[in-house]
Amino acid sequence: MNRTLEHILPRVQKPARYTGGEYNAVVKDRHRVDTRYALCFPDTYEIGMSNLGMRILYGVMNQMEGVWCERVFAPWGDMEEEMRREGVSLYGLESGDPIADFDLIGFSLGYEMAYSNVLNMLDLAGLPLRSEERRGLSPIVVAGGTCAFNPEPLSPFVDVFALGEGEDVSVELIQLYRRAREECWSKEEFLSAAAQVPGLYVPSLYEVRYQPDGTVAQIEPLEGAPLPVTKRIVQDFNKSYFPVKTIVPSTEIVHDRVMLEVFRGCIRGCRFCQAGYAYRPVRPRDPKLLLEQGIAACKDSGYQEMTLSSLSTSDYRPLEQLCDGLLDWCEPNRVSLSLPSLRADNFSLGLMERVQHVRKSGLTFAPEAGTQRLRDAINKNVTEEEILRSCRTAFSGGWSSVKLYFMLGLPTETDEDVLGIADLAEKIYQAWKETTPNPRRGVNITVSTAFFVPKPHTAFQWEGQISMEEYHRRVKLLREHMRGRSIKYNWHDPETSFLEAVFSRGDRRLAGVLEEAWRQGAKFDAWSEYFDFQRWMQAFRTCGVDPNFYAGRVRDREEVLPWSVTATGVSQAFLWRERERAYQAVITPDCRVQCTGCGADKLYPGGVCDAEA
């Protein structure tokens, strides 16, 4: 280990985050590889190591002969300070080498509030922030992940965005890069070729012009770059890479367990949900394969906890079969199995009981809205009766803790809908009173409300976010109607959701605001220790940008949306139709009941969409 680092580490919190050397970390001989890739996660080690996508891409790239992919996370403030003082630039955890010397630097973008960390990490690496100032072929800065579906606010900083699932396109990008190096291409030549690879968006090859009113007038592709750039998906989810052999951190992380991904995509079509639209179509993994992978991953890692993961795990058709198979192995081997993201409508107490036979953790439901009308409007197809029935079953089975998640500020929401949240909580309390076998123990009902953020590529991408004042009014209204000591109400502060609304539907002019906020010290904006809303508001003023133009404004159907340069496969016409149905409070059946022609099946020519399976 590097001597300077040895001097720094005793002075920082949780130094094991900065050393590498974990079990299964991939160490290659730096003299025997030709391509070095820095896979960066713009948040802490504990968060980044909990991300399954990181583990998949790490495995996929390290399987390639001659490629060494290393992990890089955002150092916490104390470590950053030490690094800057001692002149240590951002390094790959596996080799300790500075990433500025790597060939490619890839960022995973899961959350808009991590953008300031992307800039901070480029700076810590000693690289110029802006793509145009990094003249050579290396390093190429790549970014992917959910936020890449609106890449525009980060476009001046990133050379190439990868849209959709990264398993295949990361390999293709590396192959193209190798060719470019062998044939001595310039960076411009490389980017021009990269733009022709399906799923790769090269922002410098698009010229964006604006109307006098500030909306986008035209997006013009240059050098034959495609418009739009359509996302990539894994075609055969049974053959795609799964990290059976994966890094086991030597220090505790957030999700410290084996994660089994049962399918990609979601059948549901909740109108607010970006993931639900952006990861279509549904592609399940064979339960036998999952069983093998789950057992192998537990044996290899020594983890004693396994979890099933997907956007809506109870929609996995062979769920019972899979759980039976897993439990047959897990129970004698003292491995506990957990099932997050179960829906209230097909909640099965038997399943829950079998899975959590040791500890009865709380139940969690996300009705999202307080009245049936509003739930229909957002296409959250769960009824009050289903929620109450699930609760009754659970309460009579001895559960005594329920968490309910809602959003405030959904399109068409009225005060009646807001008060419906309090009503639902009250009805759940009554259901507990009627069904509990041990009334003396009491019940905990926790209601949480988040501030709705309209996201690109959803049915609500044209909506305005309600103002923060209006959000506060609705919170107050709800708070005044929450009764009973058994019901606890938590609400999120709206500032981060407001900024999320700005950046998730922003355009290229926000890049200046981002850079200015970073210069004024913005980083780790998802962490209350660092977040400073006034710093952001000052950055908007300095740059002469009105954040409400992005957060609060309702868009016309004709408006050229900044993110229309990217495509998820779900058509804009479908999304508009869904928006109209929302205003009529008409539900759209899920993919299994009926194909609604969203268009995503066209991405999957060889496969069978889940609706037909």
Binding site: L9, A16, G20, S250, E252, D300, G302
Partner: protein
């Protein structure tokens, strides 16, 4: 007393794994190595492992001991290689043996403390530190959870059995044999005594290495 012990060393990147994280790491490593160990009884059973004398984060050690109970028929000679292969970089298991002596017989610890000076070791440092450690009494302030003021005083001299000081070019090496437990002495207190009593000799950086654990007769404890 748990039946088995593993003698292991902790170096390089593994120095920064904390005591609790290390226990968790070992629990998983036994599973990875396919070596079942005894679990605790009770409501939430977990693999039982214990590491006497927790090592501070950042210290290296050549003489760590983990207590556990291997189940079934195990060829103990194969355990070190199997465990080392299942552990993070920097942790090496050297031996697996049956526990014979209780932990309370572990009385002394041998540390190598290296004081580093960016501008070279100050003139007279070796001598000054030797004299400091040769005093009849050397009282330093120590943080305490019990004392109301949050501080208590401790005399280091009775807790130091042997000390040699050796000057090299830009470092000074202290070879210390100090009390392990009841009460133990944290070698950092020796360094803080140097900082406060000989401020000119204050090092820029200090590294700590645990070289051996010893019994009451200064013989290796295992």
């Amino acid at each position: 007393m748990p039946k088995h012990r593993l003698a292991f060393s902790k170096a390089d990147t593994a120095k920064y794994i904390s005591h609790l994280d290390l226990m968790r790491t070992f629990q998983r490593a036994f599973l990875r190595a396919g070596l079942p160990i005894k679990h605790t009884e009770g409501f939430n059973p977990h693999a039982f492992v214990s590491i006497p004398l927790p090592l501070s984060v950042g210290y290296s050690s050549a003489c760590e001991v983990l207590e556990c109970e291997l189940l079934g028929e195990v060829d103990r000679d194969t355990v070190p290689a199997r465990m080392t292969a299942a552990l993070p970089a920097g942790i090496t298991v050297h031996r697996c043996y049956e526990a014979a002596r209780p932990v309370k017989e572990l009385c002394w610890v041998n540390y190598i403390v290296t004081l580093e000076y960016e501008a070279g070791a100050p003139f007279g440092a070796e001598r000054a530190i030797q004299e400091l450690l040769a005093r009849a009494s050397l009282v330093v302030a120590k943080r305490s959870k019990k004392a109301k003021s949050g501080q208590t005083e401790v005399d280091l001299i009775p807790l130091i059995a042997r000390s040699t000081v050796e000057e090299r070019r830009d470092t000074i090496g202290l070879d210390l044999v100090i009390r392990a437990q009841n009460p133990g002495l944290n070698p950092e207190l020796v360094v803080s005594a140097i900082r406060s009593e000989c401020p000119d000799m204050a090092p820029d950086f200090v590294s700590f290495h645990r070289r051996a654990v010893l019994d009451g007769d200064f013989q290796p404890w295992e």
